[in-house]
Symmetry: C2
Subunit: 212 residues, 2 copies
DNA sequence: TATTTCGGTGTACGCCCGTTCACTGACTAG
DNA sequence: CTAGTCAGTGAACGGGCGTACACCGAAATA
């Protein structure tokens, strides 16, 4: 229970490290193929352990997949936090959001690849986990929109509708960014510019919207 | 070469029938899992033939997948044709489009399920085939938008951007429709109503857009 | 120091897979 | 009537899979 002088939880630390290796190996494998086609043995091999040792960390590949969703959601959560912070500092929310989106995708391509690929992939548990996170994301955005449209008579249903559209647009952008080849930053800029204009188009629509 | 009196291509007809059985069996299997996790033997079993006979019809499961994309695109193509025809007859394009979209998804759920699930699934060839069809769809829509915005100074790039946003919104609706449980027509109506308002929001934005 | 805990090992099992090959027999064509 | 075509058969192969089991040795505990 209490930590010893010589090694404070050396074992636990090693365990956590190989656990992370399993997650990393899976994430790497999933950038090419779908999770359903990745085998337990393959993951164990890439992580440098024997297949049976896999069970010391996860009950099954499905369970690992669900944990991986959580891990991959972290950059996305950070993204929304950054976007919110950016809101208060500068005037143009949209430009800031799109810029952050582009950077996050550039810095964590594998995570986004995994999330978008498995969003409608074969493993039901993983699909459900992603759907839950995404619903949370949309509802948070609709709260933000409520703040921005204060005064206009927006129903909560319409706010949800607009937030859903914005999230769909951004996810579409993410998918297109991931399809891009590496080191074609000009294409990336063109895509991000289009994304910004899409969000601006929606904002323009919202400005002249009357909740019926 | 010439057709005989007794049986005009009985053999070819039988072949076509089992070929169709293979495609149908795959489509049915793919509603639950992803294509990458469906085996050749499984498909052959469900189609009622021995595994080796599979090769009389397709080179591999990947090849079958590409053909399946083509087959599943037929209802979608018909949908756009219907939407276009509806355009000329009545005033409200959006309501008509959404209604047709809802009906098509209701009538061909497995096809849409396959297309959306495999759009970013594991099989590269299938992914490419779907992406190509979808790009065609978007560019056709941008042509329609060019006709509708004649007079306003829309650049072709912005037209593409708007069409892309609309397609993303509609695909998002399709995904949500497919997630719905059966026989909850109230939920379906709510979803289609939200989709209609999304498109209307975009149209509203376009009305006050100035291509910069 | 003696004992327990536990992450990782190695073997072994039965199963399903894709693909090969030689074959059969109904339809086709001359 | 005869020869040829070809969709479908059935046995067999080598290989990867998930998983059970007994085991090891270093870290943790007492």
């Amino acid at each position: 229970m209490t930590e010893h002088a010589s090694g404070p939880g050396v074992r636990a630390e090693r365990k956590e490290r190989t656990r992370q290796k399993l997650l990393d190996a899976t994430l790497h494998l999933v950038t090419t193929r779908s999770l359903a086609s990745v085998s337990l043995r393959e993951v164990a091999r890439d992580a440098g352990i024997v297949p049976t040792a896999f069970y010391r960390h996860f009950d099954s590949m499905d369970a690992l997949g669900v944990e991986l969703v959580d891990e991959c959601m972290r950059p996305l959560r950070q993204m929304t936090r950054n976007a919110r912070r950016g809101t208060s500092s500068r005037g143009d929310i949209i430009a800031g959001t799109v810029e952050i989106l582009g950077r996050q995708v550039r810095e964590h391509p594998a995570q986004f690849q995994f999330l978008t690929r498995e969003r409608y992939g074969g493993v039901a548990a993983v699909r459900r986990a992603i759907a839950m996170e995404l619903r949370l994301f949309t509802s948070e955005l609709s709260v933000d929109l409520a703040r921005l449209t204060a005064g206009a008579d927006w129903s909560s249903e319409d706010l949800e509708m607009a937030a859903d559209l914005m999230v769909a647009a951004m996810l579409n952008t993410v998918l297109q960014l991931l399809e891009l080849d590496r080191r074609h930053s000009e294409d990336e800029q063109r895509l991000l510019s289009a994304s910004e204009r899409q969000l601006r188009l929606i904002a323009l629509g919202m400005a002249s919207w009357r909740s019926s």
